[in-house]
Symmetry: C3
Subunit: 247 residues, 3 copies
């Protein structure tokens, strides 16, 4: 059983955070809320999302897992205006999801969860550097890097206490640096890793520009990025595997 | 002889209402105003438009018919700002239309009316159900139906006194219902017909979102939709033939 | 040596004025400011631009010429918000240009000036007619002409004291006329020349809609257009060669 009412904004932020990486996902329905974990087909980018029951106007479930085509559900959610409420109700018999918005009622076929790519385990890394910055700074770094390269290095200057982004193209380079004063928080530590820009661009699409993003970084290690959705009643963690650095 | 001045907004609303169905049309010039009737090449969608002489700033004609390439005339009308006036003047000798907007003067070649597809007779149907609703509700229904199907059923629930829209896709469905309270007016009667969504999407483009639309419906019958343009000094009627329902 | 700080708006207006005609250009660095002259590959459209040292927040150079890929530098300049400052600094050794915007630092490879098409001499023509008009009127004329033709005639009616634009298509024509009252200034004189609309459309993209444009015209002669950028601390001159008139 699953019957919940949620604001269009919250539902869309939730779905968008996952759909930048995968087309389909499993949604775990628990007493505490919903949980989604997914990894892209190349096993490079992962997402771990939790949306608490408190993020919903009303929330009832006796547990279970449903498989969802994200772009279809996003289309349905897109029918609602920003302030509107969306009711989601699982029809156990037909394995369809009823989506209600005002007078509008959609029925969405669910996907057999067993047919969806297995969920990843997000490794519990102890990364030496920690940076907290605004989403718009990630946007700025990613956009600048994209002008010159398809790779991006993220790192921390331990001496100068600064977070930096480096992108080296064939002829042109970009370097973006945020000192302690430009950052919300910084725990300096050895960190420098190279990433595929395509993944970071996709994740950047779902990162709210006005949110605080907590980044964990290491030396040729994955980067983790955490941010809140639903005014703190939900969290998203992205993890992106590094590329092997070529010299 | 034809010499008229009309606001850019009114001319554009008039032309757009017809151009969603056909590329060329005949414009009847009469003492009372202009009239356009047209049917799409497949004989499925029809439009009947009347723009009264009172909708014009000034209007003079001794009658006649002119043939117009709608997209060309729309381009010329598009040169005017929203509040500006457009003067239309027929040059009888060259069979060209002079279009004047402020200092700008365009000359538009007319089309021989005899070369334009014959005008349809809009049958005088006595349809059992009548629904009056806002244009934005048609937009909402059409957009929702378009997510799942290329057909759309329009009907009236006589018991519940509600207008409904149904679209059934291969896996997903949409149902949109407006009760008596959500409608401006309702005359309940047996009505359920299936239509091609493409036509309704085209008509929807020209239907003002904030206008009252009067819909007449029947059981496997065409739908008629009436609305005003030019603040009531003009009316548009669309008629759309039903598709044969497959079971 | 070259080290300058300039507002993003000014730099962008400067680059856009030139990039509508060419992909690469030489920038002359002088005590008085920067100068750019360029001609398109077909030798039809020319630009002559001057941006005074006073247009910069700070400006230092000991002279020289740098070769620039305009779209790359425009991309870098595009990273700045409208009000932001951009620092440009030449690295003499690497022949690269450092571009700094807030924490963001880009390095742009310059082009060997000798590999860039030779700069044109803008002939010092004594054209008989002079028209001063608003940029938005040029936009209006070009947009209207574009509906019917790929050529455009610019001329002056000496009797009626009016500037006119004529475009003749296969079936439709456009005529746009601005009398003395619609113009900021007019020195009437024999003038009528035909131009390729493509070039004028490109130049129109860079002409500020709210600026005063001074046009010099003759009888089958090039047209010159002058306008200010950087609030008068810079000027742009376009010159466009006429097409041979076919009868």
């Amino acid at each position: 059983m699953f019957n919940a009412i949620v604001s269009a904004d919250t539902l869309r932020a939730t779905l968008d955070s996952v759909s930048v990486l995968v087309d389909e996902c499993k949604i775990h329905l628990t007493d505490e809320g919903i949980e989604i974990r997914a990894v892209d087909p190349a096993n490079v980018g992962m997402v771990d999302l939790r949306l608490d029951a408190t993020a919903f106007e009303s929330y009832e479930t006796d547990g279970g897992i449903i498989g969802v085509n994200l772009s279809r559900l996003e289309e349905f959610a897109g029918m609602a205006d920003a302030g509107q409420l969306i009711q989601l109700e699982l029809d156990e018999e037909t394995r369809k999801l009823h989506v209600q918005i005002d007078g509008l009622e959609g029925t969405l076929a669910l996907i057999d969860p067993d047919s969806i790519r297995q969920e990843p385990d997000l490794p519990d890394l102890d990364l030496p550097a920690r940076v907290v910055l605004e989403g718009k700074d990630i946007d700025r770094a990613v956009t600048a890097a994209d002008m010159v390269s398809d790779h991006i290095a993220l790192g921390v200057e331990t001496d100068e206490e600064a977070f930096y982004v480096d992108a080296e193209g064939d002829t042109d380079d970009v370097h973006f640096e945020l000192g302690r004063d430009d950052l919300i928080d910084l725990v300096a530590g050895d960190a420098h890793s190279l990433f595929s820009l395509d993944y970071l661009k996709d994740m950047n699409k779902a990162i709210p520009k006005d949110a605080e993003i907590e980044m964990e970084l290491g030396e040729e290690f994955p980067v983790k990025m955490h941010f809140d959705i639903a005014e703190g009643d939900g969290t998203v963690t992205y993890m992106l595997a590094p590329r092997i650095q070529s010299d």
